[in-house]
Symmetry: C2
Subunit: 404 residues, 2 copies
C-alpha cells in the first residue's frame, strides 16, 4: 500500500506522504489492479483475475460487475471447450473513457484523443516557427471545441483528463528555435496547466515531454513490460524517462530521467552532455553547415532520404553517447531494458539501437548486469500519447506517482 493523495480542486495532485489507508482506499486499489491486469493481458475471466490477485472469487465478481456497470468493461463471448461452466472473458471497453494528450514542441504541437484501450481516435497537428502560450491556448481551445461538437455527447462527457507533454524551460530554447529574442518569454510566466485547467471540465496534468513518452511506452507499449526500464526519446533534443515497478518514476522534483544532461565522453575524450551528441538538432546543424536544407528532418519523419556521412556520423556519435549513458544509469538502477524511440524513421531508429547495443557491449561493465537495448514500440507520437497516458494512469492504474 501507499500513502494517499489529497486532490486539489483544480485536479493537480499534491502528494501527501504518510497518509493512512481506509476501506475506500482498499476498493480503489483493487479496482485499479483489475484494470491494470486487463490492460496488460487484454482479456481475462473473473476467476483468472481472482487467481492472479489472490482475492476471493466473490470479491472479484463484485468489483468487476461494478466496473461493467460503469461501462469500463465489456464481456466477450463465452469460452467453451474446457470442462465446466464456460468462462466469460472480460476486457476494457474502448468507449469506457477517453483521454487527451497535448504535446508542445519547438516546431509543432500535437493534440491526440485516445480511447480506453489506447487507440488514437483523433489527432491534430499544428506547425509554427516557434510556439507562444497564447497561440497554443488558442489552437487547443479551438480544437477541443471541435472535438466537443463532432464527437457525440457521451464521448465528451467521458473524457477523463488532459495531459500536457512539454520540455522543461521551453523559453531557454528560443535561440535554438530561431525565435526572436524574448519571443518565447511568455512561457516563463504562463502556468499553462492552470490555463487549461480553467478552460476544461476535467483534470489537467503537465509533464516533461520525454518523461511523458516514457509513460506512453509503459502504458501502451506492445508487448507491455513490467520491467524497470530507462527510456530515451530522440527529438530535436534528446530526453528521457524512468519506469520503475510498472510505474512512471518522475522523482521528487519531477526531474528524474533528465537523461539529456547525463555526462558522456565525446569523441575527443572530453566530457559533454548526451544532449550535445544524440539530439537530432546535432544532425540538423551538420546538414545546415554543409549549406543544405534540413527541414525535412522535422516534416517527413517517415523518410529522411539520403543524408550520407552526416547521418552516419550522427548515428555513431549518438549510439556511443547512448551506450555510455545506459552504462552509467545501470550502475544507479539495475534496469532490465533500455528503450530508444524518437522522431525518426524506423530504419534510423533500428540502426541507432543496433549500434548502441554494439557499443554497450564494448564498455567495461564489470559488476553490472547490462539491460537489453530495445526499440520503442509506440513510435513518433509517443509524447502526445504519453500526455494522454497521464490522466489514464492517474485515474485507472495502480500507483501512478513516484515510487512508491
Amino acid at each position: 500500500m501507499e500513502g494517499g493523495f489529497a486532490r486539489e480542486s483544480d485536479g493537480a495532485r499534491t502528494p501527501r506522504p504518510n497518509l493512512g489507508t481506509n476501506q475506500s482506499g482498499m476498493r480503489d486499489y483493487n479496482e485499479r489492479l483489475v484494470l491494470s491486469l486487463l490492460r496488460q493481458h487484454g482479456s481475462l475471466a473473473k476467476t483468472e483475475i481472482a487467481r492472479m490477485t489472490g482475492l476471493s472469487a466473490q470479491t472479484v465478481s463484485v468489483i468487476m460487475r461494478g466496473l461493467e456497470a460503469d461501462a469500463l468493461l465489456v464481456r466477450g463471448s463465452p469460452q467453451r471447450g474446457k470442462v465446466g461452466q464456460p468462462s466469460i472473458p472480460m476486457s476494457l471497453n474502448p468507449d469506457g473513457a477517453f483521454f487527451l494528450g497535448l504535446k508542445i514542441g519547438r516546431r509543432s504541437s500535437e493534440l491526440a484523443l485516445i480511447d480506453f484501450r489506447g487507440t488514437i481516435r483523433r489527432m491534430r497537428q499544428h506547425s509554427y516557427a516557434y510556439p507562444t502560450p497564447e497561440e497554443t491556448i488558442r489552437f487547443v481551445t479551438e480544437d477541443l471545441a471541435e472535438v466537443a461538437e463532432s464527437a457525440d455527447r457521451r464521448t465528451w462527457e467521458r473524457v477523463a483528463g488532459l495531459g500536457i507533454a512539454m520540455p522543461f524551460e521551453l523559453w531557454n530554447w528560443a535561440d535554438a528555435a530561431g525565435a526572436p529574442p524574448g519571443a518565447m518569454d511568455g512561457w516563463r510566466h504562463t502556468d499553462i496547466r492552470a490555463a487549461f485547467a480553467e478552460r476544461c471540465p476535467f483534470p489537467v496534468y503537465l509533464q516533461n515531454d520525454a518523461t511523458s513518452a516514457c509513460g506512453a511506452e509503459l502504458v501502451f507499449g506492445n508487448p507491455p513490460t513490467r520491467d524497470d526500464f530507462i527510456y530515451f526519446y530522440l527529438g530535436a533534443f534528446v530526453g528521457g524517462g524512468i519506469a520503475l515497478g510498472g510505474r512512471l518514476f518522475t522523482g521528487r522534483t519531477g526531474n528524474a530521467g533528465a537523461l539529456g544532461s547525463i555526462p558522456v565522453p565525446g569523441p575527443d575524450g572530453r566530457t559533454r552532455q548526451l544532449i550535445d551528441v544524440a539530439s537530432i538538432s546535432v544532425l540538423e546543424k551538420a546538414i545546415v553547415a554543409r549549406g543544405e536544407d534540413a527541414t525535412h528532418l522535422w516534416t517527413s519523419p517517415d523518410d529522411w532520404g539520403e543524408l550520407g556521412d552526416d547521418l552516419e556520423r550522427w548515428m555513431e556519435g549518438a549510439a556511443q553517447g547512448l551506450a555510455h549513458a545506459i552504462l552509467a544509469a545501470s550502475a544507479v538502477i539495475d534496469f532490465q531494458a533500455a528503450v530508444i524511440d524518437g522522431w525518426l524513421p524506423l530504419s534510423v531508429r533500428g540502426e541507432v539501437v543496433a549500434r548502441t547495443a554494439r557499443h554497450l557491449a564494448t564498455l567495461d561493465s564489470e559488476g553490472l548486469r547490462l539491460p537489453a537495448v530495445r526499440e520503442g514500440t509506440v513510435g513518433r507520437h509517443a509524447r502526445a500519447l504519453g500526455g494522454a497516458s497521464l490522466p489514464l494512469a492517474e485515474r485507472f492504474l495502480v500507483g501512478a506517482q513516484s515510487a512508491i
Copy 2:
C-alpha cells in the same frame, strides 16, 4: 497500496506483484505507518498521529493501544501546559524488538545486536586474513549462543531477524584479500543466508554490504530524511545504495546502487570505474608501493596518522570520481542528497565530502538540480547496522521492498 508478498517458510520473501489488498493488509499498513512516524519523530501523541495520517482519532487510538499491548510502544509522561486534556507522548519501546546485523568483510566481520530504537546493545568483531563460510558460520553461531545465554530470555525471544551485509561475489576478491587462490571458493557454493536460516528461529535476510549501509542511514540516520538520496560507502572497495520514497531501493535483481561500477573520467581523461579511484584499497596500494605498512587503515579507522601526499592524492581522486558519479546519477534520478560514509576517520570523511561538493560545483550540470552532498550520520559500522535494519524494515516499516 502495494502488492503483497507471499512469505516462504524460511523467511525469505518472494515478491508477488499484482496482489490484491484486504482488511488485514490495511491494518498492517496503518500499523507500520504509525511505527514509521514514531521512528521519524521520536514521540507523538495519538492525536498528532491522527492528524498526520488522516486517520480518525478512534482508529489511531485502537491501533496504538494494540501496539502498546504488544510492548512495541511506551507512553511518556503527560504533557501539560496547554489548554485541554494533557497529551500523552507515545514512543518506540527500546525493548520492543531486537535485530541482529552481520557484516562480512575482507578482513573482519561484525555482529551487532540492536534494539527497537536502533541503539547498539552488543557488538562483536572477528578479524581474519581472509574469510571462509565455515569459519564465519562457526564464529556467528558461537556468538549467537553467547547472546542467547547472556541476554535475558525475553530479549532473545524478541529478536525479529538477522540481516547479513556482504559484498557481491566475495570469491572474486580472493586475490585482493591476499588469500591463496581458491581459498575463498567456498563462498561461491554456499548459500550463507540459507545456512543461517537453518540455525536461527527468526527470518534471515541477505543484502549487498553498501546497500545495507544505505539502509542504516535511511532507518537510523540522524536527522532522519525522507529525501530520495544516493549513498556511497567507502570501504576497502567503494559501493553504494539508493533510497527512494523513504525506502531502500534494491532493484529487480538486487543490483541497484552498484555505484562502484559507475564510469568516471580518470585524471588522464580515460574512463574508469569509481571503484578504481575512490576505494580505500587504492590508497593502501599507494602506501604499500612506497614500501610502507598500511594495515592501520583497517585496524585504526579513528586515526590514520600522517599519510601525506598519498592521502592527499587519494582524497582528490576519490572526490573527483564521486562528484562525477553524483552528477551522472542525478540525471537518472533527481536525488535531493548524496550521502558519503565509510570506514575512515571523521576528518577524512569530512574532507572527502567537502572536496566532492567543490568538484561537483565545477561540473556542467545544465538541466539538472544537483543534490546536497552530506556526510553520513551512522558512521563506520553502517554496514552491520544496515544488516540489522533489514529485518526491522521488513517487519515494522512501510514498503520495505523495491518501489514499489
